[in-house]
């Protein structure tokens, strides 16, 4: 299932360039319900994805020791939110850790707060997080690398997954998608004219 999902993502993001789509990011066609999960937020609450209907959810995976890719994604999503102005409250950004061994709730909270206090960092048991990654076709591989003083690095998928207000997985933004394009697509999903 997860392999099929991963393959269909790839095929589909290639198809996007030529497709007649109002969206600028990669479009999942046909839209299907986003794989559900329940994970823990820093305030101790359990967050269930399917309970977030009515808003657009931007979901991304990363870890708090990540200095380059994850902060870039979160900083860009913060700018997207700023551009949404009055609609910003209808965008929910979720950051799911791929490094539960080191990412405590407190670390995840401090990390996401540095970018936008409304962003929610999520964690869970290693087993639960692994099953979420499988369902989403997300790769995360812990690597002990020589030549760095970092204890280990985590190679991980860096897409932003976008879920529409009806709970359907609609878009994937590859790393490097412009803030303008992400804002454009999220406005469309919110029923606005970009």
């Amino acid at each position: 299932m997860s392999r099929w999902l991963a393959v269909s993502f790839v095929v589909w993001s290639v198809a996007v360039a030529s497709a007649e789509s109002p969206f600028r990011g990669g479009v999942l066609e046909p839209p299907r319900l986003a794989p559900d999960f329940t994970l823990r937020a820093p305030d101790g609450r359990e967050v269930r994805l399917s309970r977030l209907r009515g808003q657009v959810v931007a979901l991304t995976f990363g870890y708090t020791f990540c200095p380059d890719v994850c902060p870039t994604t979160l900083a860009e999503l913060a700018q997207v939110r700023a551009r949404l102005a009055g609609d910003a409250k209808r965008l929910r950004v979720l950051f799911v850790t791929v490094d539960p061994e080191r990412d405590s709730l407190e670390r995840v909270r401090a990390y996401t707060n540095a970018f936008d206090s409304t962003f929610v960092g999520l964690t869970g048991t290693p087993e639960r997080l692994a099953s979420v990654r499988r369902a989403w076709g997300v790769t995360a591989n812990k690597r002990v690398i020589s030549g760095t003083s970092a204890a280990y690095l985590v190679d991980h998928s860096a897409f932003v997954y976008v879920i529409d207000p009806a709970g359907r997985l609609r878009l994937m933004f590859p790393f490097g998608t412009s803030i303008e394009d992400m804002t454009h697509d999220i406005k469309l999903l919110l029923g606005r004219t970009p």
Partner: protein, 161 residues
Amino acid sequence: MKILFATSLATVTLPLLAVLCASIGADVQQGAIALEGAWARRAPAMGAGGHGGTGHGAMTANGAVYVTLRNDGPMADTVVSAASDAAHTVELHETRNEGGVMMMRPVARLQVPAGGRLEMKPGGHHVMLLGLKHDLNPGETVTVTLTFEKAGALTVRAPVK
């Protein structure tokens, strides 16, 4: 009148520009090498104390600085080390995108070709700060020193964004 206006405009704007440039983190040049447009990504230090982010999961945080290296000389030059007062350990890293999976690895040396440039940017080359000593907040600056084989050590101030 037009000339007078243009002159007075220049009198007002040029010093202003100079002040702006200085506050944004002036580019530096030494020998054939110039460092341009340095900036650091905001990062929380996670209440870091005296640990170095080294070894076995010390609970600290990391950051990244981006800068463009320009080589005006007829010979290639190479960055052999990096240092910063903001972190316990500083390394040169490169992130590569392998089919959507981002893989970050240390690089021992960074070569800038003769007459060429190397642009560090998110998702590419960066100066990696391991074990931040303090939060990197927008409005602050981080000092980074890159040592080149030929040009020697160049220090640049990188504003945090």
